[in-house]
Symmetry: C2
Subunit: 401 residues, 2 copies
């Protein structure tokens, strides 16, 4: 095809420059600088949408209402689904699981898309990809067979901005897919008022490759593999440019704190939950979900509601990116971070593990990844609900050096 263009070539060259010739050497990569791409210094990707990241989710209760008609139908008609895979739209299990015509194989699939929440287009692509894959990992699936990419190009972008930003997003998405051992073979790009990024992840596997997340038992403990507070961090970072907002939080946090938290959040959101998923098999996990748009408690409640046994989840500890709990408090109840309702993007896995395995799980993941995981709660007898105790302990999670 003959769609050559020197503009696209230039942005590609710039992208390669930023990656210092090694797409996987993230540490070596220089942060996105709009001026280096001939864009205005004030260019901010996050201004191309009014909502950020997974906070664009339709509220959990509204969504439940909207998809009700579909769910009723399925439960009456579709007996080809295993007991586990009650199909749900956007709520319920993280992936759909469909038995195939071909001997014993299952199709495990998920889709997700959302809006920019960091200003670095390459990182935004990586985060979007990690976020889509995370739904597979939450089911203990570690191999992805194929990915599709979904892109909305903002009507408000100039041609120049588009030609710089979109290839960088695509490249970030693709590099993350390569890191996950898969590749992007197609997708869809449309024009939309807001810039939007997402994808589809698909695996065909044997039933023993995924873990049905309904097997929590009394005495299990809950492990979380990434800190909370990504949404608070990306907002606080945006407020550095907005004096009236910044004034609300500057008494509790320094500019340097916010920058560190922002980078910790980017680092965390772009990290794959793949090793976390692999270790679920090794340490006999009883179920897991990933923490995204509905916040820690929303996802915990959803996981609890799917349990076979009469259990409930009680959360005692909240690992939060350093200083972000203080920022959230200074903003009144806006984020609901300590109440467990702050949306996260590409958050960690929340895993039910046998009590005697949990410490070993956390040790192993830290050894393999260099990132901590935390025991944050317990599974007790109950009516399939989840709650955070009155005064949870906040664990301040520092930025990595």
């Amino acid at each position: 095809m003959s769609y050559q263009s020197s503009v696209a070539q230039d942005s590609l060259a710039a992208a390669q420059l930023e990656m210092a010739g090694n797409p996987n050497a993230l540490a070596l990569r220089r942060p996105f600088d709009p001026v280096a791409h001939d864009l205005e210094a004030s260019f901010r990707l996050t201004r191309f949408a009014d909502l950020k990241g997974r906070s664009c989710k339709v509220p959990q209760d509204v969504l439940g209402k909207l998809v009700e008609s579909l769910q009723q139908d399925y439960s009456q008609q579709d007996d080809q689904f295993m007991h586990v895979a009650i199909p749900r739209i956007g709520i319920g299990l993280d992936c759909s699981v469909t038995p195939l015509r071909h001997g014993g194989l299952c199709l495990v699939q998920t889709t997700d898309f959302f809006y920019p929440l960091v200003d670095d287009p390459y990182m935004m692509g990586k985060i979007a990809c990690a976020n889509v894959l995370s739904d597979l990992y939450a089911m203990g699936v570690t191999e992805c067979d194929n990915m599709l990419m979904l892109l909305g190009v903002s009507t408000k972008m100039t041609e120049k901005e588009r030609d710089v930003v979109i290839p960088l997003i695509m490249r970030g998405f693709k590099d993350s897919a390569l890191e996950a051992g898969t590749s992007v073979t197609g997708g869809q790009t449309v024009i939309n008022p807001w810039c939007a990024i997402g994808g589809v992840a698909t695996t065909i596997c044997q039933p023993n490759e995924y873990i049905v997340p309904d097997n929590a038992v009394m005495g299990d403990v809950l492990v979380l593999t990434k800190p909370l507070g990504t949404q608070v961090a990306v907002n606080a970072h945006q407020w550095l440019d907005q004096p009236e907002r910044w004034n609300r939080i500057k008494l509790v946090v320094s500019e340097e704190d916010v920058r560190k938290a922002y980078h910790r959040a980017m680092d965390s959101m772009s990290r794959l939950n793949r090793i976390a998923a692999r270790l679920m098999h090794k340490y006999n996990a009883h179920g897991s979900t990933d923490v995204t748009g509905f916040g820690l408690l929303g996802h915990a409640q959803n996981l609890a509601s799917h349990q076979k046994n009469e259990v409930s989840f009680v959360i005692h500890n909240l690992p939060v990116i350093a200083k972000m709990a203080a920022v959230a408090k200074a903003c009144g109840n806006m984020f609901q971070l300590l109440q467990g309702h702050a949306p996260e993007t590409s958050g960690g896995l929340l895993i039910c593990l046998p009590r005697e395995q949990a410490a070993a799980y956390c040790k192993d993941i830290e050894k393999q990844e260099g990132y901590q995981a935390w025991i944050i709660g317990i599974v007790e007898k109950g009516n399939r609900t989840a709650r955070i105790i009155d005064k949870p302990r906040v664990i301040e999670v520092p930025a990595k050096d």
Copy 2:
């Protein structure tokens, strides 16, 4: 789950009412009446986006430029792909085809989403589903193993509008999936300025279940299975409410003509290309694509560019929904319908067939579906391009009675 709501129940009841208790009896279904759902009489679904249907596609040349970086990489690195399945994002083949770890099977996948172009939410859902599936059918794949639904709920909808419209869209999508012998097991719903609808279709199949669309030979003929002009029809219909627009076309078309064309377009867009795909195997098709956002010529050119043999496509006949060619002419060059550039949504398949099989193909599809297909052009020696002759014959396709 306890997301019961009397509002959602009411809209469901209304939906069932409209379908006269039989979701497949489309003919019995009353058209969508906003007032019957307690919405304003002036409610129009198409007002929740500034672009319509597949015209939201990023222009073909721009997209080519944007995805270039990805394509370069794949052609260098990914040798696990068959010669056919050069992965492309949004352009190129209609589906991605990925060989699987499991003996001899392939993953065939596609995704698409766009904006409302008809005012009936249920029909909009059906059209969106037919449009997504159409990419599988274009590859000769007749079975779909799983679908996911993508939904953008407009920020501009009232709660009431949302609670009426979204379940109807979902139901239309689902009914179309059932008609196609598949089901919707998951998806993603986000808030977006424009209402958006789409999905993902996935099949796991043997390589003989799909038809590599690269085998056209000199002497083949081109068959089209649905009329052109859907975009013109939905625009003309919207102009019935807009006197200054209506005045531009009222000399060439009556209100009745426009209403008929609109219903013909809805009927056509919601019709599955499944039988067309099945018959491709029976009559030895050499390749096919579906006609959507890039218009007849755009997709023809794309198909031509993928051919193994040195061939070109020449199009002589343009079947167009009755009166829509006249409307397009009256609008100056706005639609570029007769130039082959008018976007279509959920258009027909454009199929290369051996000359001696083409008439039998057209006869068979008409017998099975009750809809005509047309021989519109020929395959001659050439440099893998496509063109429409200077004065193509316009075939007026009347609304069905």
